[in-house]
Structure formats: structure tokens, C-alpha cells
């Protein structure tokens, strides 16, 4: 299970994507492509469809037109979604919560203990998640990205509730993911401390009023 991940074949191709929410057209004919190691930053003011685009990429919201194609090394789901809902049960301990997601997502990543160490809450493994602060919950949520390898990370405001150290940690995690050949689409208002290795593009949504 500790074999280094091979994301070399992973691709995200989006063509002609059109998404409508109710009567409102959020974006039309959106097209982009991500190759291993590349990151797309989504910008735009509130309500321009950043979160909706992420949900569309995740296959939760149906697009009115266009296609999203995610190819990866195997047949399993290829993406991690991280948004404001963490899927963490207050009455389970941090380790139990993470262990649950590890098994549900395929046990392809690092162990629970290692992941908790990596996000800096290794000492809280036995604590019920209901006692964690929101920043610690966010870190626990980030640990979920590590316990199973998936080439595409869809992150919605990942730095929310994180302190300065947490932001640096987030940057390191994303950089490590890029180095391993992973891809990420990140909706954020903050400047993320990412290493400048190239392969970072920015997409601004909703520039037309």
C-alpha cells in the first residue's frame, strides 16, 4: 500500500461546460484541461459559480451542456472533494472518523496515524471530533486527502478556518500532491503559499456582469 502513486496517465478534460442554477446561467462553454502536476485556481466574487463548478466536476451537479472527463490510473473514483461540509461525526474520535473515510475511499494512501501526524493533530487521535476546534476539524478533513491517493483534488476554500501554520501546511500538501503528479482545482480568495513550479493557472469566473 505504500507504493508511490502513479498519476502519470491522469487527466482532467473539460469541454464546453455550461451550468445553470435555476434560471441563472452561471457559466457557458467553459473549457480547460489539467495534466499531472497542474493546478487550476478559481477566482471570482461570491455567487459566480466557483463551488458549483467544483460540484459539477465532482459529478454532483449536472451540467446543462458539455463534458467533464476524468481519467486516472484505475476504475475507482478519481477525485477528493473538500468543501465546507466535512463529513465528520462528532461522536467518533478523530482516528475513527479518518479510518472510516480511509476504508470507504480505498486504502491506498498513508495510514491514519501518519496522516494525522502530517496535518499536525497527531496528538488528538483519540479525542472525539466534537471537541475539535474548527481549524482542527479542517485539518482532519485535509488528512482525508492523504489516506487514499486520488489524482484530482477539488478544494473549495481550503484555507478557511486555518491559522497561519495551517495555511503553510496546506501549501506543502498541495505541493507534495503536485510533485507526485496530482492535479487540483482550488476555489479560493486567499493567496495560497504554493511553490512556484509552474503549472498554476487561474480562471476568473463571472467577469461578465
Amino acid at each position: 500500500m505504500s507504493a508511490s502513486p502513479t498519476f502519470a496517465q491522469a487527466r482532467l478534460r473539460v469541454r464546453g461546460l455550461t451550468v445553470r442554477r435555476g434560471e441563472r446561467l452561471l457559466f457557458a462553454d467553459l473549457a480547460f484541461e489539467l495534466a499531472p502536476g497542474e493546478v487550476l485556481l478559481l477566482r471570482g466574487s461570491n455567487g459566480t459559480g466557483k463551488s458549483t463548478l467544483l460540484l459539477t466536476l465532482a459529478g454532483v451537479v449536472r451540467a446543462e451542456g458539455g463534458s467533464v472527463e476524468i481519467t486516472g490510473p484505475d476504475e475507482l473514483p478519481q477525485m477528493h472533494l473538500l468543501n465546507y461540509q466535512h463529513g465528520i461525526k462528532a461522536r467518533l474520535t478523530a482516528a475513527e472518523n479518518l479510518g472510516f473515510w480511509r476504508r470507504m475511499y480505498g486504502e491506498t494512501g498513508v495510514s491514519v496515524a501518519e496522516a494525522l501526524q502530517a496535518v499536525g493533530i497527531g496528538g488528538l487521535a483519540g479525542l472525539e471530533a466534537g471537541y475539535l476546534s474548527s481549524g482542527q476539524v479542517r485539518r482532519l478533513s485535509l488528512a482525508r486527502l492523504l489516506v487514499s491517493y486520488r489524482p484530482l483534488w477539488l478544494l473549495d476554500e481550503p484555507s478557511a478556518a486555518l491559522d497561519r501554520d495551517g495555511e503553510a501546511l496546506l501549501g506543502r500538501l498541495i505541493d507534495a500532491h503536485r510533485e507526485a503528479g496530482g492535479m487540483a482545482v482550488i476555489a479560493t480568495h486567499h493567496a495560497l503559499p504554493l511553490a512556484n513550479g509552474g503549472g498554476i493557472t487561474t480562471l476568473v469566473l463571472g467577469d461578465s456582469p
Binding site: 466535512h86 463529513g87 467518533l92 475513527e96 476504508r103
Partner: protein, 217 residues
């Protein structure tokens, strides 16, 4: 398969830790049986005749009351959204949750039936028959419940809408469940009940998963 068991295990563990919920249903179940003798008077033969029907009404109502919780907490904390990207298809996720829900809600009722048998002065044979009928019929109730719960998961205060929605579907379960205890009915009712349970248990995860996908939009 491992993920399937993990999901069932988590739901059981949560039910034990959070407690209360299963207990409430069992208390409700017993409460109905406690008040009925007061309502119809201490007439033992009559009570005995009505006992299977009363047990079914009590079980039916407490199962219906509990089903709203099937998907709600997972929907509210985002687990349901994340489970859609797990290694299990959503249909299997629903099936696992239905099994866990049945274990948490129906099994305690079955364990509480001896109390009801005493309160309603049921005979030994009646009690065995009732337990058998509940065992055969409650999976169908839970599975129908999954449909109702999936359709109403998006409604913040859906509380009683799901039970009302599935009431017409669940009534046949009640009819055959009580019919089974009729001495003239023979084994036909039990077979119908088992067939109904098997059929619904197999098909409801697909329908419920469809409803959950639609609710996610």
C-alpha cells in the same frame, strides 16, 4: 465488501454512542401496548384477540417515526456527499445504511416484544407468530422507509412527510403481517410477507439512490 461492512459498523457504533434514538422508539413501542388495555378495558379474551394487531400498529408507527433519521444526519454534515465518491456505488451505500438502520430500529423492537406479550396477555403461539411476522415484515418497512427518507432528505423539516409518503406502500406489509396470525390464513400470508420484503429490499436501494442523486443538485 470491506467498505460495505465499515459503513454498517460506523452506523451501529454511532447509534450506540449517540444512544437515545433506538431507546425512544422502543419506549414508544411499549407505550402503545401499555395504554391499549386501559382504552379497551381489562377484558383478557378480547385483549388476546386484538394483541397481534396492536403489536403491529405499535411496531408500524415506531418504525415510521424512526425512518426520517436514515439519511438526514449524513446529509447535514456532508457525509452523504462524500460517500458518493467512495469506492462503493451509491446504491450499495444505501443498502448498507438500510441494513444498519434495520439493525438499530427493528431488532430492539423484536427484543421488546416479550414485554408486550405480557401486557397484552398473548399466548406463547401468538408471541412466536408475532415475532416471526415482524422479522419477515420489518425489512420491507425499513426499505420503503429508505425511499421516503431519500425523497425528503432535502427538506429541512421533513419530519413527518416521509412516513405519510410511504404509508400507502407500507400498508400491505401490515395486512399480511396481521393476516399471518389469523388461524385460518395458513402459511400464505407469511410467504407473501417474505416475498414483499425480499423484493423491496432489493429494489429500494436503486430507487433511493436515484432520489439522493436528484436531491444533491
Amino acid at each position: 465488501m470491506r467498505a460495505f461492512q465499515t459503513l454498517i459498523g460506523r452506523d451501529l457504533r454511532l447509534a450506540v454512542r449517540v444512544g437515545g434514538e433506538a431507546m425512544t422508539l422502543v419506549l414508544f413501542f411499549i407505550m402503545v401496548a401499555v395504554i391499549v388495555p386501559f382504552a379497551i378495558g381489562p377484558d383478557r379474551p378480547q385483549l388476546m384477540r386484538l394483541a397481534p394487531g396492536i403489536v403491529w400498529i405499535a411496531a408500524f408507527l415506531s418504525m415510521l417515526l424512526g425512518l426520517d433519521r436514515l439519511f438526514r444526519s449524513d446529509d447535514e454534515d456532508g457525509s452523504l456527499l462524500l460517500l458518493r465518491h467512495s469506492v462503493l456505488p451509491l446504491e450499495a451505500v444505501v443498502a448498507a445504511k438500510v441494513i444498519a438502520h434495520w439493525l438499530v430500529t427493528a431488532v430492539p423492537l423484536l427484543l421488546a416484544t416479550p414485554v408486550l406479550a405480557l401486557l397484552l396477555s398473548m399466548s406463547w403461539a401468538q408471541w412466536v407468530g408475532t415475532v416471526l411476522a415482524l422479522l419477515a415484515g420489518t425489512p420491507a418497512l425499513t426499505s420503503f422507509g429508505a425511499l421516503g427518507a431519500a425523497v425528503t432528505v432535502g427538506l429541512r423539516r421533513g419530519g413527518l412527510i416521509a412516513p405519510v409518503l410511504i404509508l400507502p406502500l407500507a400498508i400491505p406489509v401490515m395486512i399480511f403481517g396481521v393476516g399471518m396470525l389469523d388461524p385460518l390464513a395458513g402459511s400464505g400470508a407469511l410467504l407473501f410477507l417474505v416475498a414483499l420484503s425480499l423484493l423491496v429490499t432489493v429494489f429500494s436501494p436503486f430507487a433511493a439512490a436515484l432520489a439522493l442523486r436528484a436531491a444533491g443538485e
